[in-house]
Amino acid sequence: MTAKPKVAFYWCSSCGGCEETVVDLEEKILDVVAAVDIVFWPCALDYKYSDVQAMTDGEIYISFINGAIRTSEQEHIAKLLRRKSALIVAFGSCSCLGGIPALANLKTRQAIFKRSYLESPTNVNPEAVLPQTKSELDGYSLTLPEFYETVLKLNDVIEVDYYMPGCPPTADNLSSAVGVVLEGKLPPKGTVLLPNKSLCISCDRNETKPDDMTIKEFKRITQIKADPEKCFLAQGIICMGPATRDGCGYACIKGNMPCTGCYGPLAGADQGAKMIASLGAILEAGEEKSIEGCMANVVDPAGTFYRYSLSASLLGSKNKEHR
């Protein structure tokens, strides 16, 4: 007999959106459940860490881990799952690239504590109390995990076999990845389980893009009512499509908003550098207007071009020490 392969889902520093993707499998979840044994999924099932600890090494066939690494506890569980799993998939952009939580790498840990616990207009904290990793209360000693200086991606702390970026990846992305793995057609280690082409290639607005597109100035979405059919870049609105991996079905664009880059870069590329190069090719700076003038409305280049990929970017972090 062949036992059903064991599968685990776990979340580190993330929002739970990747978990919702699993629920969004809708009726397919019944097929997944028929094909595999889900042995750990804190969001929906009652198994605990102790259940995972009790497994033999490599007993779990595949673990999908979403979320970035920000605390000692997350690093610990990631390492535990690595030991217990034959395969690890970094699931979602936080796990692959740092994601939105990694925007915190543009700030220091001190700034975060100061804003949250000392400066907010609703705080009443005259004694400047801050959460502590160890504290005493009514004679009891309580502990919290250490909060790292830097937001890390999963492969900064464990070896990762496959990657599935997206914020979040769609249910279709997940189900095709599960299919590939269950059929045993394993691609080479390190593969990103999505097409290696840019979003523009599948976007249905691509054909509205002029062949010799030139832009004199970028506009913010607050300054223009976007045409619902025309290429955003051709309208002078920053759209991350050229520097972003395909796979989402251009969902945001169908919602009449530009791509913000959540599926991360193509293989081997730095997303921000690629985007700046793409913009450079279409910007028409001249004697009348400097490059700075054309870019005046791009008020947050780091947050715009690396919104989901700071942990994997050339920019690095404001903090060199991560723990």
Partner: protein, 487 residues
């Protein structure tokens, strides 16, 4: 020697959480603590980002209730830019928002909190989940749950780009017009949603209310806390999720405050504790009285039961009927029984469905007047919506170019953090006696927590962010003597 039990992680909730239970030498509970071990720092790292990106960035606080953050942020942008959204934008936003509330509440009932009742609080842990629910209610009913949710999510994708992290919100408007050709589908969905809400209520009736043991559990003092309540109301003091003033009532259900979003900081204060990353809010006017309930308590609660307690009724007929039935069976207003949250949530499900039907008929829903482009110089703005888990507040300041300089967020689960801490300790004291602890009892401790549908992803927005839960039982000196294996 005493013992410490740890439940780690707390399961069937969104995010990370941990419960430490300390037993005395006789094996009874001395203290229990609810700790949130994470923080992400959203307030800090949104500084420097363009204001118009807030609806999409802050939705990443929580992938379970992204629409709540998206909408609170969008309303904060209306205020920041001093712009009134068009009638069409308001209708589209509220329609979208009620799709979300309908879906999210059902997710909790069937996937997260419901299994405790439908399958049973002390059923084996391998069955206490959606699959156990499907076993119990039948595959056909299970498929119905999946089908309605799928249709709801497809509509959300159509209107807002994607259901997880939508993109429709802009200051003064929405990004995309709903075409008149879609109206029939919207109406048909709304009518289906009403039937499904009724189906769910009748299942709740048959499985929970008809079972005396469950009703006793709901009414027991294990899950009881007298507190203040907060929720958004319309001009007739009826529950509204999208817009209105915020009403606060005391533990006797008398109004003690009613405020506009911009005034939130004069009503709510937050306390910092060294032993958890989550902040503890309370009513500024009453003051911090400690982790205590009762008439003089400064603690307020939010979420479905709090909304119903803080309002004077529901704005739609079927919801009003169910609202009256709930209070008549549970002994009048306010209801302090925490597990009644599950019932209140279903009253809101039917309200959301009925509200969808009203909005699907609204003439302005499909007009192309989707945005008011007349933005003023941005300065400061507060946006409030009722998230599934309670009152959600986004407050931004920006420079003249609309780049964020300061942000303050009070998320729904944080509003309940004091009540959750107290509820867990109380349940632990009642349930764990003479050192007898088992998986079923520990699950019943978690139920004190899960009723709130707590979202620790949200709650830890200010820190790194997650919330499975752990319960540790420790002796008096804090030594983890007996690590509990739950099976």
């Amino acid at each position: 020697m005493g013992t410490v039990y740890t439940i780690d992680p707390i399961t069937r909730l969104e995010g990370h959480g941990k419960i430490d239970i300390y037993l005395d030498d006789a094996g009874n509970v001395d203290r229990a603590f609810f700790l949130v071990p994470e923080l992400r720092g959203f307030e800090t790292f949104v500084e420097g980002r363009p204001a118009e990106d807030m609806p999409q960035i802050t939705s990443r606080i929580c992938g379970v209730c992204p629409t709540a953050h998206h909408m609170a942020a969008t309303k904060a942008l209306d205020a920041l830019y001093g712009v009134e959204p068009t009638q069409t934008a308001k209708a589209v936003r509220e329609f979208f928002y009620n799709l979300f509330m309908f879906e999210d509440h059902l997710l909790h009932f069937y996937f997260l909190g419901g299994p405790d009742f439908i399958v049973g609080p002390d059923a084996p842990k391998s069955a206490r989940n959606i699959l156990g629910v499907i076993d119990k209610v039948g595959l056909e009913a299970g498929k119905k749950v999946i089908e309605i949710r799928k249709r709801c999510r497809a509509l959300m994708a159509e209107i807002g780009g994607k259901p997880i992290h939508p993109v429709l919100g802009l200051p003064g408007g929405v990004a995309k017009q709903i075409k008149e050709g879609s109206r029939e589908e919207l109406k048909s969905f709304a009518s289906e949603a009403i039937s499904f809400a009724q189906f769910t209520l009748s299942a709740f009736n048959d499985i929970v209310l008809a079972n005396k043991a469950y009703v006793d559990l709901v009414l027991s003092d294990t899950y009881y806390l007298e507190s203040n309540y907060m929720g958004m109301v319309d001009s007739s003091n009826r529950v509204n999720f999208y817009d209105g003033k915020i009403r606060v009532v005391n533990p006797s259900a008398a109004e003690i405050d009613k405020f506009k979003p911009a005034d939130y900081a004069s009503v709510i204060a937050e306390r910092v504790e060294p032993w958890t990353y989550i902040k503890v809010p309370y009513l500024r006017k009453v003051g911090w009285k400690g982790f205590v309930g009762g008439e003089s308590s400064g603690i307020y609660r939010v979420a479905p039961l709090a909304r119903l307690n803080a309002a004077e009724g529901m704005a739609t007929p079927l919801a009003q009927e169910e609202y009256e039935r709930m209070y008549s069976i549970l002994g009048g207003k306010p209801v302090h029984n925490t597990l009644a949250l599950h019932w209140a949530r279903l009253v809101e499900v039917i309200y959301a469905a009925e509200r969808l039907a009203q909005l699907a008929d609204a003439e302005e829903l499909t007009s192309d007047d989707t945005r008011n482009m007349a933005l003023n110089t941005p300065r400061e703005g507060v946006g409030i919506v009722e998230a599934p888990r309670g009152t959600l507040i986004h407050h931004y300041e920006s420079d003249e170019s609309g780049v964020i300089t300061k942000a303050n967020l009070i998320v729904a689960t944080v509003g309940n953090s004091a009540a959750i801490s107290m509820g867990i300790e109380q349940a632990a004291r009642k349930l764990i006696k003479n050192g007898v602890v088992n998986d079923g009892l520990l699950n019943m401790v978690e139920m004190a927590f899960r009723a709130y549908d707590p979202c620790l992803s949200c709650a830890t927005h200010s820190l790194p962010g997650k919330m499975p839960m752990e319960i540790r039982l420790k002796n008096k000196s804090g030594l983890l003597i007996n690590k509990m294996i739950r099976n």
